[in-house]
């Protein structure tokens, strides 16, 4: 269970690069940086000069998943493709839907394909960033299908509401303690 677009909402967000693609507060759209602190309701993004505190509710985040990232974790290409193919079963649509709640199901399926074949798309779309105040869906489509700088980079857009939970509890699928 490595860090894939499917497991992102239950995985560790600290240390990932993220960007705010849409927010209720227009001043926060375009904020980008590394996630340094996560609380139940907010993420803190460090953009190099300051740390911005962004509420999860009402915000769409675009996370940058690097397959072999700077943290020194090696997600083998085979493990990821294995999980991708495993996800192609009947549960695939719902899984992808859960990760990216606001998008339609077929769009999510399209995105899954995009993330699987991302290494081939690397050279096609160099340096295209979606407009900062453009509509969310356009932005997420662009972002998800494009791998810009590095070959193994995948961009995943997540509605912040799906991240609303205590950082330590987010990994648990049920959301409640197993002791209750």
């Amino acid at each position: 269970m490595s860090l894939t677009p499917e497991t992102l909402t239950r995985h560790e967000l600290n240390g990932l690069s993220a960007r705010v693609v849409d927010a209720d507060n227009p001043d926060l759209v375009g904020v980008a940086g590394r996630v340094v602190v996560e609380t139940q309701q907010t993420l803190h993004l460090d953009d190099g000069t300051r740390v911005r505190q962004v509420p999860k509710r009402g915000t769409a985040f675009e996370f940058e998943l690097v397959d072999d990232d700077a943290l020194g974790f090696e997600h083998g290409a085979d493990t990821r493709s294995a999980s991708e193919t495993a996800g192609d079963g009947p549960g695939a649509a719902t899984e992808a839907d859960r990760v990216d709640a606001p998008t339609a199901t077929d769009e999510a399926a399209e995105r899954r394909k995009a993330s699987g074949s991302v290494s081939k798309r690397g050279s096609e779309t160099p340096g295209v960033r979606p407009g900062q105040s453009g509509s969310t869906h356009e932005g997420s489509r662009d972002a998800d299908s494009a791998s810009r700088d590095r070959q193994d980079t995948v961009y995943v857009t997540v509605d912040g509401v799906t991240l609303l939970s205590r950082p330590a509890h987010r990994t648990e699928t049920t959301g409640d303690s197993r002791w209750r």
């Binding site: 560790e12 600290n14 943290l71 330590a168």
Partner: protein
């Protein structure tokens, strides 16, 4: 490897990087979060994580900076700046 175990691994790396960058309090929060995840998911913390964190103040220990490592008779003693001493055997 479960997601929880991976999160602990990731937080360990983040805590080490934060401590090296002088962000001790942030490293502490990463250590606490990793401990909490292990506790909730009934996982054992990795030995390396245990040996490089302080059990009392959750600091990420950097020998020579905020921790002293001494080799004693039969064990290694590592003491944090907060005064906590952890000992583990040679093996």
């Amino acid at each position: 490897m479960s997601i929880a175990a991976e999160r602990i691994d990731r937080l360990h790396t983040l805590a080490r990087a934060a401590a090296a960058a002088g962000e001790e309090e942030r490293a502490r929060e990463y250590v606490r979060l990793a401990r909490r995840i292990a506790e909730r998911n009934r996982l054992r913390l990795p030995d390396e994580f245990k040996r490089f964190t302080c059990a009392r103040c959750d600091a990420y220990l950097r020998p020579g900076v905020n921790a002293r490592v001494r080799t004693r008779d039969g064990h290694v003693a590592i003491s944090c700046d907060c005064g906590e001493i952890a000992r583990y055997p040679y093996d």
